[in-house]
């Protein structure tokens, strides 16, 4: 089987999907192998008034993520940790079925999966987001906007979230205590004096779609419509699986679940590594002359 080869392996597919799938060398109707992703465009820092943002375009799937860091109170059971909250908005422009409250279920599914995968010490160290234990912490509000649906929303959203978090800059605060011992916060004068979010261990979601006897990653909308069951995994760069859930009506026998997990892990590690490398590369590039994302 082919390995994920970065973002370049785009094979214009000509074969009819229904007639014949995976007939020749496990090729899919667009010419990809089962573990190949489509070409993915990524840009960070696209929304200037958010703390961090990114935009991901995976073929026709288009996702914009903004992270807003605000001060809030920590959860009662985790007084010395910050919080991260996800909210997904399915734009009615993306798909006609999203109109009204049509996208709500999907939005909830994506945000729950992301929340679950990030609610884990090995994915994100939220203790660094704590400002005053028990009183104040940073809350990262992650807003995910689906602009266009071209299949594989979960994976694309998770990549965009990880990129946006990587891009997030949180102002450093000085905590001073007065004589009564009451803490107060002071903002530093320098707007460049910021803290970054460590996303080295942040997970990416990998969706494995069971089609016939095969399972494929990065399914197109057509492939998704043929999928009877799918497995969504949150995988970190170390290969830790932090989320696992099945979806759709079909059932999976234990053996193929195991097989799919092996694939998912392999693809996930590769995806994480490629993403991290590209994000670092983007940052070292000369300061951008202008934002590209919406001006192309």
């Amino acid at each position: 089987m082919a390995v994920v080869q970065g973002w370049k392996n785009w094979y214009p597919g000509r074969l009819g999907y229904v007639d014949f799938v995976f007939g020749l060398d496990n090729l899919r109707n667009d010419g990809r192998g089962c573990e190949d992703y489509r070409s993915l465009d990524l840009e960070t820092d696209v929304v200037s008034n958010s703390s961090g943002s990114s935009r991901v375009r995976l073929a026709n799937t288009d996702i914009l993520v903004g992270v807003k860091a605000e001060l809030g109170e920590p959860a009662a059971d985790k007084p010395s940790e910050g919080r991260i909250e996800f909210f997904v908005d399915c734009s009615a422009n993306a798909a006609p079925e999203f109109e009204g409250r049509g996208g709500e279920d999907l939005a909830l599914a994506i945000s729950n999966t992301l929340a679950q995968s990030y609610d884990n010490v090995s994915s994100l160290d939220k203790r660094k987001l704590c400002v005053i234990p028990g009183h104040q912490c940073w809350v990262l509000y992650v807003d995910i906007l689906l602009l266009e649906c071209g299949g594989n929303l979960f994976d694309a959203a998770s990549v965009a979230v990880k990129a946006a978090l990587f891009n997030t800059k949180i102002p450093n605060l000085d905590v001073t205590k007065n004589e009564k011992g009451e803490p107060s916060l002071e903002l530093r004068d320098d707007p460049f004096d910021c803290m970054r979010v460590d996303v080295a261990a942040a997970p990416c979601l990998v969706t494995l779609n069971k089609i016939g006897y095969h399972h494929v990653v990065d399914a197109t909308r057509e492939e998704e419509s043929c999928t009877l069951a799918r497995l969504i995994m949150g995988v970190t760069a170390d290969g830790n699986v932090v989320t696992l859930k099945t979806e759709k009506s079909g059932s999976l026998d234990p053996e193929s679940v195991f097989e799919m997990m092996q694939t998912g892990k392999r693809v996930g590690i590769s995806l994480n590594n490629t993403l991290s490398a590209k994000l670092k590369q983007e940052e070292t590039m000369a300061p951008k002359k202008g934002k590209k994302a919406f001006l192309r």
Binding site: N49, S51, L71, P171, N178, L185, L187, D190, F192
Partner: protein, 946 residues
């Protein structure tokens, strides 16, 4: 070119916001140089601008150059910058914005410089110029970024100007050493303000205006505790440890003060050098309460900072003050821990020359008693001696006994009446410059005629027997009256008020000027008009036998003053007579006069008596304050005699109808505009205000009931002493001092329960009857005109927030006008006594610990008889409980009649004071002998020689 500016902000709630602003850079901004061929510019529009070859006399930088000051230079050396010899300055936008942010008054003064075509100031918007915009670098503070922006602009100017004229240079003025070093590395000519000014030829005047260096360390041990840093203060205020409020120094004792706590009614008392800790009148300060066992109370000392004291001398007065505090009721006391905002302004006063010969450091004594002495540096002390000068404070280091300041300008000779009037007006912030061209343009052209159009919109009442009654010499007559008997036996009473709002249209230059001035200010020998003279003394003034526009209130009344109907309309009137109070009184009393006007006056008089009775029955107070008249010598304009104003029946007659008109109008406009009527209220004073009054009345066996206005009025009426007829008047004077200030307000901004006017005992009141001299009345006229559909409305009139801000200004101006008026009386009293020594009958108004405060009814004058000699020794025993001073078998109580000798104490020729010495009761070794009332045969206006 689009850039975006990003910055973080902490909101009041404590959340942190990231704010992004778009910032567009331009390539078409002009450099301000007329001959520049590189920049696009429209020569005709963009004036005033830099001169082509600016004159220069600097030996540091020979050759033509422009100056570019940095922010701190503008802030601290504004007096130099303002000087007319400083021209051709380029003000960078970065600098202007910083100044605006840090000091609004300074910003205004710079704007005035920029607007002055003779100064050739040019504002360069460097922040929007594509070549001079700089983005903040990581790790750079915003101050550093601004300094860099300034340097970049100066460099750009240097290169840019060289392309047009290579002899031109730009000079950066900065007092920051590090900035200067960096600038020199960049090849910029940079000097400190001091060096630059000193390099100018014949600049001794400018050198005096240089602000002293704030950071200069003055050797010597610290005399005052350190002020806390602002962050700590804010912290403390938040958690309730400190409180903030405005600092109000005592007029009588320079070591005592009160702080009016913000948002609360009570005051906190501050006493002593350490606790006052360099706070100056009107500063916004942070204070800490003292523990209750350290609370004190005002010491009853009258203390003045007399002699110059060296820094090294210990501050001894503290001890005197503290130890002398009796065990009387202690009041909440505190100490100043820090200054939140200085409210320094320019102070008028005079120089107190240093005793050391040849010293450049002198003290400055402000005319305002609550301002401490200020140390200034000047080389022209001999010239300034004997002159009134203006000085500002630069700083007050811990090691200095006095604040440090610098000289700004001179006003004229001390004792010169024009100079003194100028001082008075400046000190009370009275706008008194002549009216600008824009204002005068709003005036109607003469001859002014009444058009047919006017006749259709106004009721013609020129046939009515209208007359005006005013004080003698009044030229701004804004009210006139009439009263005729109707066929049904009732009276028709009309009050006609000058229709000023016809001439002052909203939004015009004249309207804005009048709104700012707020009121006409009356000094003894001068009137500072609110509107130009053409209006105040001619077109609006209801002169006799001339057709004038008026706003009329007509009542139908029964003979016992019951109002049957009220009617408002705009009208044309023709006053039949402009009378003085005395003339009107004569006409009423002269039984032989039977003309319409006189008959009208008699009817008005009888109605007024009834109205007054009703008013007093409702609990209106009759209060006393001393008003005096000066007889002014027609040639020298010096006062030759003083007497208290006489009150006639006619005064009261006019007053009653004005009150009635005001109340009727107030009801009408409140009815029509419940949310935006401009009204006047007089809050009932809190009971605690009356405590001193009640206490002193008790010493004479009278009980003053202050439960309500009526009770107070009745108990004041009952308090009479046979052998001391002046006692009652004095009680009323004291009562007046317990009262609150009456204020204008906008009805939508105040609870209905706060509307009543306490002094007049009416539920609602406004000012309608003097639009020539009060802006409030103009607004009320406009409201009333809209209410009766005689005029169109405009948005600002109905905006309650706008109205309230107008009210706030009016209240301030009104108060200042009163103070200025009183100060003018004091000034003239001093001039009057300059060459006189008089023995006068007076009464003890207050008994203080070391002095008596004596009131001289004949002159309405209050003065102090010191009971102690220079060494704080006294022959008197002070009884705090009963407020008496006893010496041998003579004891002095409050209200006791005394005879005092009044003279001017000229021992310190710079600082003349009214001096009073006791004659009667005779106390051996203390009282002085009576003199014949001598008037020295000197011309009274002889100038003082130093």
């Amino acid at each position: 070119m689009l850039k975006s500016k990003v910055f973080m902000l902490k909101t009041k709630k404590g959340s942190i916001m990231k704010i992004v602003r778009e910032h567009y850079l331009r390539d078409d901004i002009w450099c301000g140089f007329l001959a520049c061929e590189l920049c696009s510019h429209d020569d005709e529009k963009q004036l005033p601008v830099l001169e082509l070859s600016p004159p220069t006399s600097s030996n540091l930088c020979p050759g033509s150059h422009y100056l570019i000051p940095d922010t701190n230079v503008l802030l601290h050396q504004i007096d130099v910058i303002e000087d007319k010899s400083v021209t051709n300055v380029i003000i960078l936008q970065t600098v202007l914005q910083e100044v605006r942010h840090r000091s609004a008054p300074c910003y205004k003064r710079i704007k005035d410089c920029i607007d002055d075509p003779g100064k050739h100031f040019y504002v360069f918007v460097n922040e929007f110029h594509k070549d001079t915009y700089v983005e903040r670098l990581p790790g750079e503070s915003s101050n550093d970024r601004n300094d860099r922006a300034i340097r970049i602009s100066v460099m750009w100017y240097g290169k840019h100007l060289a392309l047009s004229d290579d002899s031109l240079r730009v000079v950066l003025l900065t007092d920051d050493v590090a900035n200067r070093e960096q600038a020199k590395q960049n090849g910029i000519h940079a000097f400190s303000m001091k060096d630059y000014v000193k390099s100018l030829g014949n600049a001794s005047d400018l050198i005096d205006k240089l602000s002293t260096d704030e950071n200069k360390v003055i050797d010597g041990k610290p005399l005052y505790p350190e002020h806390l840093p602002l962050s700590q203060i804010q912290e403390g205020i938040k958690n309730g440890k400190y409180m903030q409020g405005t600092f109000q120094a005592s007029r009588e004792n320079y070591l005592e003060a009160y702080v009016n706590i913000r948002d609360e009614e009570h005051q906190v008392f501050i006493q002593g050098h350490d606790y006052v800790n360099r706070a100056i009148q009107d500063d916004l300060v942070a204070i800490e309460m003292l523990p209750e066992d350290e609370w004190t109370c005002p010491s009853s000392w009258v203390l003045e900072d007399e002699e110059e004291k060296g820094d090294e001398e210990d501050i001894k007065e503290d001890e005197i003050v503290r130890t002398s505090t009796g065990k009387k009721s202690k009041i909440p006391s505190g100490r100043v821990v820090g200054i939140i905002k200085r409210n320094w302004r320019q102070y008028c006063g005079m120089l107190q020359k240093s005793v050391l010969k040849g010293s450049n450091r002198h003290l400055f004594v402000a005319a305002e008693r609550r301002i401490p002495k200020i140390r200034i540096e000047t080389r022209q002390a001999d010239v300034l001696d004997g002159q009134r000068i203006v000085v500002v404070i630069d700083s007050w280091p811990r090691t200095s006994r006095y604040p440090q300041g610098h000289f700004v300008r001179k006003l004229g000779n001390i004792g010169d009446k024009d100079t003194e009037n100028e001082v008075l007006l400046l000190e009370h912030d009275v706008p008194h410059s002549s009216f600008s061209g824009a204002v005068l343009k709003c005036l109607p052209s003469l001859p002014w005629i009444i058009t047919d159009d006017d006749l259709t919109h106004r009721v013609d009442v020129r046939h009515l027997p209208i007359c005006s009654v005013d004080p003698p010499g009044c030229t701004d007559i804004d009210d006139a009256l009439h009263c005729i008997e109707l066929s049904n036996g009732n009276y028709q009473v009309g009050v006609h008020i000058a229709d000023v709002s016809h001439f002052i249209r909203p939004g015009t230059a004249i309207d804005k000027e009048a709104a700012n001035r707020g009121t006409t200010v009356y000094l003894i020998d001068k009137r500072i008009d609110m509107v130009p003279e053409l209006l105040s003394s001619n077109l609006c003034s209801l002169r006799s036998e001339e057709d004038r526009f008026a706003f009329t209130v007509i009542w139908e009344m029964t003979k016992d003053a019951k109002i049957l109907s009220t009617l408002f309309h705009k009208s044309i009137i023709r006053s039949k007579a402009a009378l003085t109070y005395a003339e009107a009184q004569l006409r009423i009393d002269d039984k032989s006069m039977k003309d319409d006007v006189t008959e009208g006056l008699r009817r008005l008089n009888s109605l007024a008596k009834i109205l007054k009775k009703i008013r007093i029955r409702n609990g209106a107070l009759t209060l006393a304050s001393q008003e005096v008249r000066f007889h002014i010598d027609s040639e020298t304009h010096d006062p030759i005699d003083v007497q208290t104003k006489e009150l006639r029946e006619t005064n009261s007659m006019v007053e009653e109808f004005m009150l009635l008109a005001n109340i009727s109008v107030a009801e009408k406009i409140l009815d029509e505009f419940p949310d935006c009527a401009l009204l006047r209220r007089h809050p009932a004073p809190p009971a605690s205000n009356f405590e001193p009054l009640i206490r002193v009345a008790e010493t004479r066996g009278f009980k003053i009931d202050v439960s309500c206005g009526k009770a107070l009025a009745d108990s004041l009426d009952a308090a009479n002493i046979q052998e001391n007829p002046y006692f009652n008047t004095m009680l009323r004077i004291l009562t007046t001092r317990c009262m609150m200030q009456a204020v204008y307000f906008c009805s939508g901004m105040c609870a209905k329960s706060d509307f009543p006017h306490y002094g007049l005992a009416t539920p609602i009141y406004t000012h309608f009857t003097s639009p020539i001299r009060r802006y409030s009345d103009v607004i009320v006229h406009r409201l009333l005109a809209v209410a009766i559909s005689a005029d169109a409305t405009y948005p600002e009139l109905l905006d309650k927030h706008r109205s309230q801000s107008i009210c706030n200004n009016l209240n301030y101006r009104h108060r200042m006008a009163q103070y200025a008026g009183r100060a003018s009386v004091v000034l003239h009293t001093q001039i009057f006594f300059k060459n006189r020594i008089l023995d006068e009958q007076g009464y003890v108004l207050f008994v203080r610990k070391n002095a008596l405060q004596v009131l001289i009814p004949k002159y309405g004058l209050e003065g102090t008889v010191y009971l102690m000699d220079a060494n704080q020794q006294t022959m008197f025993t002070y009884n705090e409980e009963e407020s008496t001073q006893t010496c041998g078998d003579v004891s002095l109580h409050m209200f006791d009649p005394v005879t005092v000798q009044i003279s001017i104490d000229s021992t310190n020729i710079q600082h003349q004071k009214l001096c009073m010495k006791l004659i009667k009761p005779v106390i051996p070794n203390f009282s002085v002998n009576p003199c014949q009332n001598i008037t020295e045969d000197q011309p009274p206006n002889k100038k003082l020689k130093n």
